[in-house]
């Protein structure tokens, strides 16, 4: 039982990181119909920005702040202007293919231009371990989980409580009516891309101490973020959190109780079950198809 609790807790830490990336995924999808295949690389790039900043002697907090600013500029503004805007009129698949190309370019650009070796990264939270009622808990796991959860809840309340957030939701639901109501649609869409970039930078901060900064670190992460988003419900931003946690916890339990070699298949199996029986996801609502 204590093993089970321990595994669940550390699974929740990993799952909350998946949730950050998955939330960015769903926000982009809702606001602009963009499926970002480079989502994993969007986490990898800020990690390397932080590595570079740390190498030049900056403290971690400053490095993180710089990576957020750069991420909003490059992964938010430049990505939207350079790739999504010109392709938007062609529909979904050209954007998907272009982001696949982008992910290959980013991965190999870092490999060729910086380093193919994994780069060490400092611990964000202390590596202290303490026991609560017989269950061993690491401060890192708790810190990661709390930080990620706070961030997700912040984004949620921003979307629900503020005028800007409401306007962004309106754009996501019906772009035409939103612009009739006087909402600045392009700006709201840009905000979504900026939030996605910030979430990616935060995920980079949390995931890199354990994964290390490597050019291909985003490969698995991006897929799992997508699976998590679908499992939770693609048109519901609360679904991303649920999906991320489900994937993280199930993965950890399966690795311990079934087989560590097939750990990466867990997200896939849950995903298959969900799309076969409830294609709109656990918290999602159905969308009609048109001729």
């Amino acid at each position: 039982m204590t093993d089970f609790l321990q595994l669940t807790l550390s699974g929740m830490a990993t799952g909350s990181i998946y949730a950050l990336a998955a939330l960015g995924f769903t926000l982009l999808w809702q606001a602009s119909g963009t499926i970002n295949f480079a989502q994993g690389e969007f986490v990898m790039l800020p990690a390397f920005m932080m590595v570079v900043a740390l190498h030049s002697g900056l403290p971690l907090t400053l490095a993180f702040a710089i990576s957020i600013v750069l991420a909003v500029l490059v992964l938010g503004w430049l990505f939207k202007r350079g790739l999504v805007d010109p392709l938007f009129k062609y529909g979904m698949m050209p954007i998907v293919v272009a982001t696949i190309g982008l992910s290959i370019a980013m991965r190999n650009g870092v490999r060729a231009g910086y380093s193919a070796e994994p780069q060490p990264f400092p611990q964000v939270f202390s590596d202290k371990i303490f026991e609560v009622a017989g269950v061993t808990v690491s401060a890192g796991d708790i810190g990661t989980f709390v930080f990620a959860l706070l961030l997700v809840l912040c984004v949620q309340s921003f979307l629900n409580k503020t005028v800007t957030g409401r306007a962004m939701q309106a754009v996501a639901q019906n772009t035409e009516s939103a612009s009739v109501l006087g909402i600045n649609v392009p700006r709201m869409i840009f905000y979504t891309f900026a939030i996605n970039a910030v979430l990616a930078a935060a995920a980079a901060l949390l995931v890199t101490p354990t994964y290390l900064a490597k050019f291909d670190m985003g490969e698995g992460l991006g897929n799992k973020a997508f699976f998590a988003a679908i499992i939770g419900g693609f048109n519901n931003s609360r679904g991303a959190l649920l999906g991320g946690l489900i994937v993280g916890v199930c993965e950890n339990l399966a690795a311990a109780y079934i087989s560590p070699a097939y750990k990466d298949a867990v997200a896939l199996i849950i995903f298959m079950v969900v799309i076969l029986f409830k294609p709109q996801g656990l918290l999602g609502t159905k969308e009609e198809r048109k001729v």
């Binding site: 499926i35 790739l83 010109p86 392709l87 062609y90 979904m92 698949m93 050209p94 954007i95 998907v96 293919v97 272009a98 696949i100 190309g101 982008l102 992910s103 290959i104 370019a105 980013m106 991965r107 190999n108 650009g109 490999r111 060729a112 231009g113 193919a116 490969e219 897929n223 997508f226 699976f227 679908i230 087989s259 070699a261 097939y262 990466d264 298949a265 997200a267 896939l268 995903f271 298959m272 799309i275 076969l276 294609p279 198809r289 001729v291």
Partner: protein, 330 residues
């Protein structure tokens, strides 16, 4: 125009027959790999380009074909049994994988097939009793037929060329048949196709199954060509690369895979010393291609033709307007 195309095709075929005999082993190896990937991506072009099903798990079928041939050769069976068995397994698995495609479309399907690829890769890596795990299978023999041995690199190249031509002719015939039209109807408007009485379920499954069988044959030939296979060849990354080859060449163009495989396999193999930079440029080029030429490289002639036609039409309109104006004035 038709005659010119035919002439060009014949010249290209002659080049495929003649050029490798002047090449060293490495050149022959690159040419053979090119043909193998043409076969695999021809199948993917049917699934993606003609039938419009977004499949991102094609390397899994390629792997099934390769491992079937390798395992059966090790167990003492003939290559000529292994190849059709591999293709049939791919056909059946392709049918089964087609079922999610009946429920979900586009991006969901892409991720379902991608997930299937991951699962199969895990099996290849972990089930050591069957696949040799990460060490793979080595010393895969090359086949012989009657008195003919395909042991030599050049001889094997001609065998692969024969298979490529055979599969190309079969695909050409399939696409010209009513089936081919049904596939494109499925891509262009599935609901209308259904209302016209096309069995969309059956054709969706078939497009997957036939595409998978093509990959299976290509995989089997590849195993015997390189004589050593391991799971690293059949990752999700390889599937995505195959998808990009189809898209870059021109999905729905019969010769798209020929061009796509050249860009996706021949060039990176040739520029191996600068692989990371090549892939960086390739990825960036895909982004630019999507922005300027979303229908692939082979759409350039069509585009030029369309532009010329519209220019001629507007010139004709202008001339007609002028003559009308002149007719009125005097």
């Amino acid at each position: 125009m038709k005659k010119l195309n035919l002439l060009f095709a014949l010249a290209f075929l002659a080049a495929l027959v003649v050029v490798p005999s002047f090449l060293k082993n490495y050149g022959i190896h690159i040419f053979t790999t090119w043909l193998v990937f043409i076969m695999a991506t021809m199948g993917l072009n049917l699934t993606v380009g003609y039938a419009g099903q977004k499949s991102l798990g094609h390397a899994a079928f390629f792997g099934i074909g390769a491992y079937t041939v390798a395992v059966m050769l090790k167990a003492g069976f003939s290559f000529w049994l292994g190849l059709p068995v591999g293709a049939s397994i791919c056909f059946v698995v392709g049918l089964i994988l087609g079922f999610p495609a009946l429920r979900v479309q586009t991006i969901y399907l892409a991720f379902a097939t991608l997930g299937f690829n991951t699962a199969l890769w895990l099996v290849m890596r972990n089930e050591e009793w069957l696949t040799g795990g990460t060490f793979g299978i080595n010393n895969i023999a090359r086949p012989s037929l009657g008195g003919l041995s395909f042991d030599g690199n050049l001889a094997y190249y001609y065998l692969v060329l024969a298979f490529t031509l055979l599969l190309a002719v079969l695909l050409w015939g399939l696409l010209r048949s009513p089936w081919g039209k049904a596939f494109t109807a499925l891509r262009d408007n599935p609901i209308r196709a259904e209302s016209l009485g096309i069995d969309t379920r059956g054709y969706t499954l078939l497009s997957f199954a036939i595409g998978a069988a093509y990959a299976g044959i290509a995989g089997g030939l590849y195993a015997s060509q390189v004589q050593f296979i391991d799971p690293a060849l059949f990752t999700v990354g390889a599937s995505i690369m195959m998808y990009l080859m189809v898209v870059v060449g021109g999905p729905g163009y019969f010769l798209g895979p020929v061009l796509g495989s050249a860009v996706g396999v021949v060039l990176p193999e040739w520029l191996r010393f600068a692989q990371a930079w090549y892939l960086f440029v390739f990825g960036a080029a895909v982004v630019l291609l999507m922005i300027w030429l979303p229908d692939g490289l082979l759409s350039i002639p069509d585009r030029l033709r369309a532009r010329r036609a519209s220019r001629e039409a507007s010139a004709a309109r202008a001339a007609a307007a002028q003559s009308v104006a002149q007719g009125v004035k005097p």
